[in-house]
Structure formats: structure tokens, C-alpha cells
């Protein structure tokens, strides 16, 4: 093998092979380069070698492998992100594209893989959206006073609507609290916090009006205000003094330095508040 072209071409494939092997996320290209290099064995000259490469359509295989390995790299990322459902679809795409006999089949496999991937991502995104909606509704619910029934009921209804969406998709809130593709998008909590949230969500269905609590806070409010009525004029004067110090304002803030830090504020406008 004294042909300088062979040496040049071998070096080219060897460099690529070493680099792709080191990365570990390009299995089909690695295999194609290995095969191309193996075919150099015993080749008379570079034309002979290229003839062997053409006979096995390895240039086309290499082009397919580049596309397949992109899907494989995405699959590795999905797996390392604890998303095995997405990883499985992406791995299937890598396999099918790599095995496609020609470019038409590659196109077909790519289109099908695109559709399957989009469907999984859309389903996960819809579930996640409903899941986060339930969390926010539960937070609103749990921070409302027990005597604030209208608002508690409003947020309980919001949460129930979200739970119904999850149910329609064949999932439960508790399941999704354990599923990384949802859980990682919520607060970074330990299991016990998630369990407490699940209990809150479970309690939404049983939310009832608490008339005793309503009466208690109503009585307390009556006592507080009734006791203050002799000072009505002083309180009105106090509020007038506060109003005199109240303006409508809007500011422009900016951070032009490159590192994090305080914003500089500039008042854009000030006007009367009523």
C-alpha cells in the first residue's frame, strides 16, 4: 500500500474514527468508518479501494449514519434526562434510519420518526401543562382561608378540571408526581413534600363550606370595626394623608453591566393616582 492517496484517505478515516469513538454517541458512523478502513486491506490502489466502498454503498451508508446518529445522540440526552419514553422513540428512529436501504426510505423513516417524536413530546407537554395547573390551583386553594369558600371552591374547580384532563389521558396526579418528565418541572422537593401536595389535591374533592369558620371571622371583624367606629374621622384623615403621598408611577430599569447585580432605575412618569 504505497499509494499516497490510500495513506491520505486512511488517515482521514482514522482521524474521524478516533474522534467519533471517543465521543461514544456516533455508533453507526463509527461502524461505517471501521468497515471502510477494513476494505483498504489488500487494495491495490485508491481506485480499487473506492470500488470496494462503492460496491457496499458505504458513502451512502455514511450519509445515513450521520442522520441516524443525530437521532441516537438525542436519544442519549432523553435517557440521561430520565425520559425513557422519549428515548425509546428516538432510538427507534436511529435504528430505522440506519437500516433504510436508500434515501427515499431514509426520508420516509425520518418523517415517521418526526411524527412519532412530536406525538410523544406533545402528549408529555399536555400532561405537564395540566399537572402544573393542578399544582398552582392547589397552592391557591391551600392558601385561601377556610372561611373564603367562594375562592376555595373556584380553585378546587380549577384543580378538578386539570385532574379530569390527566384522567382522560390515562394518568393520575400521584403518578405524575413520580414521573421525572413532570416532577422535574415542579419544585425541587423531597418525597414527603410531594406526598403532602398529593394529600392536598386529594382533599379538593371533599372541600365543603365551613359555616362555623365564616361565623367566627365575621364576629371577630364586627368586634374590631365596631371598636374603631369612634375614631372614624381620624382614620379618614389618616387615609387622606396616605393618599396625599400616593402617586401613580412607572420606572425604567436596566442592567447594562455584564455581571448580575442591582438594576439602575429611572422614573419615566409620575401622575395623580385618581
Amino acid at each position: 500500500m504505497s499509494d499516497p492517496f490510500i495513506d491520505e484517505k486512511m488517515r482521514y478515516h482514522q482521524i474521524l474514527l478516533e474522534r467519533l469513538k471517543a465521543g461514544g454517541r456516533s455508533p453507526q458512523q463509527t461502524a461505517a468508518h471501521e468497515r471502510i478502513l477494513a476494505l483498504a486491506d489488500g487494495a491495490k490502489d485508491v481506485m480499487d479501494w473506492q470500488g470496494r466502498i462503492d460496491a457496499e454503498s458505504l458513502d451512502a451508508a455514511l450519509a445515513r449514519a450521520m442522520s441516524a446518529d443525530t437521532w441516537f445522540a438525542k436519544a442519549c440526552a432523553a435517557r440521561d434526562d430520565d425520559n425513557p419514553e422519549l428515548a425509546a422513540v428516538l432510538e427507534q428512529a436511529a435504528r430505522e434510519i440506519g437500516a433504510a436501504p436508500d434515501m427515499a426510505a431514509v426520508n420516509q423513516a425520518t418523517t415517521a420518526a418526526d411524527e412519532r417524536t412530536r406525538a410523544v413530546m406533545q402528549r408529555q407537554s399536555d400532561l405537564r401543562h395540566a399537572f402544573i395547573g393542578v399544582i398552582y390551583a392547589a397552592w391557591q386553594f391551600q392558601t385561601r382561608h377556610v372561611a373564603n369558600y367562594p375562592e376555595r371552591e373556584k380553585f378546587a374547580a380549577e384543580a378538578r378540571a386539570g385532574l379530569a384532563k390527566l384522567q382522560a389521558a390515562g394518568a393520575t396526579f400521584a403518578q405524575l408526581c413520580a414521573a421525572p418528565f413532570c416532577r422535574k418541572y415542579g419544585p425541587a422537593w423531597a418525597d414527603e413534600k410531594w406526598q403532602a401536595l398529593i394529600a392536598t389535591v386529594d382533599s379538593l374533592a371533599a372541600a365543603r363550606r365551613d359555616e362555623a369558620a365564616e361565623r367566627q371571622i365575621s364576629d371577630e371583624a364586627f368586634r374590631v370595626l365596631d371598636g374603631l367606629t369612634p375614631q372614624g374621622k381620624e382614620l379618614a384623615a389618616l387615609q387622606a394623608e396616605i393618599d396625599a403621598r400616593t402617586k401613580r408611577q412607572t420606572f425604567l430599569a436596566h442592567r447594562l453591566a455584564d455581571e448580575p447585580g442591582d438594576y439602575a432605575f429611572e422614573q419615566l412618569w409620575e401622575g395623580e393616582w385618581r
Partner: protein, 377 residues
């Protein structure tokens, strides 16, 4: 042609230029027709949204993808049927077309440099094979894609508010990935993983913003109820029971609401501290949470470093409302009698915005502030 539309089509047009010298007329005709159609569509739809609608309806991008794949196959066929040696000049020319396209766009310094390093591999090379071997030895081919990714992320990093640490950390990670990349798949893997992690971190941030908005909104409600009671209590000088029925009921309802809202502020504070692990110092010490509390909204499309929002004095109002009043041990009657140091300063009404041209003023000032920065161009 709209700049964003031009960017969308640029990759297709560059590929068109690459195939022009390689394909015979018949094989090249579909690309030429698509280019004409794309130009006509861009001419007819001057804004990006209407162009996207028209392109989607006509499946323009899919058809480009298919046509380019077919062009690739035609090129392979031509090579087999009419083998001709590609000269180094032909080979270099294909990359010069791509380089020229990159050069025509701003903020592409790294990718231009990567093309220059790649094209320099042709100096003294006997043929394309030698050039490619040299290019691979210097990892110049992977660097072309990676440097484009780096340029994009460096620009986004520079344009991003330094206090928006989640976004900035993502751009910084992408820049780091691009600098270390040895194979395209490494970049794909790293970018996909970083994007998923960004979405997760952004979603967690959104949870904090949601809770802060609950806190701020309830504090404003608390203020309004105090205002209503202080303003109207004088209408019942002899006690609620002796006041006209509608006055007595009105005050009683607002008093009840005040107690309820006070209790709810305590609940929200518990959510923020016990469930989300925050403290007042952590909230007020983080500029991005201060920005969220002040309802900061970007005024320029290219950057969130400049924003419009409430007066920063409202942060002191919030502190006082929470710690000197709602969360304190002070009886509610004493809170109503208390003179606050910092009253709440509301934002302009939408008619104030219109009457005084406030959005335009904000934009003009913001543009002046960022005018000298390369990233704003």
C-alpha cells in the same frame, strides 16, 4: 425582504448556490423553481408571521427538504454515471459559498473564523482529500457547526439580563459545549440535554414567580381593604349596629375580608418559606425576584436587560405591609390606625399610557441606553 424571513430562507438559498455548479440543468430545475417561489412568497408577505402562514400552507420548508435530498441523490448518480474528478478549486468554491452566506449575517464572527481556518487547509493541498484530512486533523469541520451554535448562544447570552441567571446559565453552558465539541453528535447530545434542563429550571422559576405574584396581589388587596375601611368608617360614628343597614353591612363585609386576606398572606408566606425554601432576604436579595415583584416587562424585542415596571419603593411597601402589619403580632385595629412609612404607588392606567405616550417614551429611552452595545444591533 423581511430580515427574519431572509434568515429562514438563507440555509436553503445557500444549498441552492452549492448545487448550482454541480448539477445538470434538469436535476437543478426543481431547486431553481423553489427559489423563485420562495422569493415571490417573501415579496408578497412582508412580515414574518404572514410569511410563516403562507409557507406552512404551501409546505414550502418540507418541499425544500425533499428537493435538497433529491438534489443530493442526483449528484451521487451524476458522479457514478459521469465520473469527473472534483478539483480542489471546485471543492473550495462550495465552502466559499457557505462562508459568504455566513459573512453576510451579523454576529457570526466565530463561524467566519471557523470557515477561514477550514479554507486555510486548502493552502498548498494537492487535492480535496488532503484538504479534508488536514481539516479533520484540526477538527475544523465540526468547528464550523459548533462555532455557529456558539455565535448564536453568545449573542443570546449578551442580550440576556445578567440577573436572569437561569437563562444565562443555559447560554453559558451552550457556549462551553460548542468550544469543547469534537463531533456533531456531542453537540446535539449536550444541547438537547441543556435545553431540557433549562425548561425544567425555567418551570421551577415560574413556580416561584407564581407564588410571588400571589403574595404581591394579596398584599395589594390588603391595602385596598384598609383604604376602604379607613375611608368609610366615619359613616358609622355610633357603631356598626346603629349605622344605616347598607353602611353597616358594607363595612362588616370589608372588615371580614381584611381579616381573611391577612390570614391568607400568612398562608402564602408559609408556602414561600416552608414549601419553596425562600426567605425575605433571599427574595429581596435576588434581582430577578425583585424584577418579578415589580412586574418588570421588557420594552425592546432584542433584550430583557431593560424593562419597565413599578417604582422600587413598592418593595419597601411590601416589606412594611408584610412584616410590620400582616405577619406581625399587631392587632388588626392597630394596623388600621398605623401610619405606613411607604404607601403603595400604583402603576399608570392604560389611558395614562395612551395620553402620555409612555410605551413610546420607554422604548425610545431603552433604545438610547443600548445603542452602543454590539449585541443590540
Amino acid at each position: 425582504m423581511n430580515d427574519q424571513v431572509k434568515m429562514m430562507l438563507s440555509g436553503f438559498f445557500t444549498a441552492y448556490e452549492s448545487y448550482k455548479p454541480l448539477l445538470d440543468e434538469a436535476a437543478f430545475a426543481p431547486l431553481a423553481a423553489l427559489r423563485e417561489e420562495s422569493l415571490a412568497m417573501a415579496e408578497k408577505n412582508d412580515d414574518v408571521m404572514s410569511f410563516m402562514q403562507a409557507a406552512t400552507a404551501a409546505e414550502l420548508f418540507n418541499r425544500w427538504t425533499v428537493a435538497l435530498q433529491q438534489a443530493g441523490e442526483a449528484w451521487q448518480r451524476q458522479r457514478k454515471e459521469k465520473p469527473r474528478e472534483i478539483t480542489l478549486a471546485d471543492f473550495v468554491r462550495q465552502y466559499e459559498v457557505l462562508r459568504d452566506d455566513v459573512k453576510s449575517r451579523p454576529h457570526t464572527e466565530r463561524q467566519q473564523a471557523a470557515y477561514a481556518r477550514f479554507l486555510a487547509c486548502a493552502d498548498g493541498a494537492a487535492n480535496p482529500l488532503v484538504m479534508m484530512r488536514r481539516a479533520e486533523e484540526g477538527a475544523c469541520v465540526a468547528a464550523i457547526a459548533a462555532s455557529g451554535f456558539e455565535d448564536t448562544n453568545q449573542l443570546m447570552f449578551d442580550r440576556a439580563d445578567p440577573n436572569e441567571t437561569t437563562q444565562r446559565a443555559y447560554y453559558a453552558k451552550c457556549i462551553e459545549l460548542a468550544r469543547d465539541v469534537r463531533a456533531n453528535e456531542d453537540l446535539t447530545y449536550g444541547a438537547e440535554l441543556a435545553a431540557a434542563q433549562l425548561q425544567q429550571a425555567a418551570s421551577r422559576d415560574e413556580g416561584v414567580r407564581f407564588a410571588l405574584a400571589m403574595l404581591f396581589g394579596r398584599a395589594v388587596d390588603f391595602d385596598k381593604l384598609k383604604w376602604t375601611i379607613r375611608t368609610h368608617l366615619k359613616e358609622a360614628p355610633n357603631g356598626l349596629a346603629k349605622a344605616p343597614e347598607h353602611i353597616g353591612r358594607f363595612l362588616h363585609e370589608n372588615g371580614t375580608a381584611l381579616l381573611i386576606v391577612r390570614a391568607e398572606l400568612r398562608h402564602i408566606w408559609r408556602l414561600l418559606t416552608e414549601d419553596l425554601g425562600l426567605t425575605w432576604e433571599a427574595i429581596i436579595g435576588a434581582p430577578r425576584w425583585r424584577k418579578a415583584l415589580l412586574l418588570g416587562a421588557s420594552v425592546l424585542p432584542q433584550t430583557d436587560r431593560v424593562w419597565r415596571g413599578m417604582t422600587p419603593a413598592n418593595l419597601e411597601w411590601l416589606r412594611e405591609t408584610l412584616f410590620d402589619e400582616a405577619l406581625s403580632e399587631l392587632p388588626t385595629a392597630a394596623i388600621l390606625q398605623r401610619r405606613p412609612q411607604q404607601p403603595f404607588q400604583p402603576t399608570p392606567l392604560s389611558e395614562d399610557d395612551d395620553r402620555f405616550g409612555l410605551p413610546g417614551k420607554a422604548r425610545a429611552r431603552a433604545e438610547a441606553l443600548v445603542a452602543d452595545f454590539a449585541w443590540s444591533k
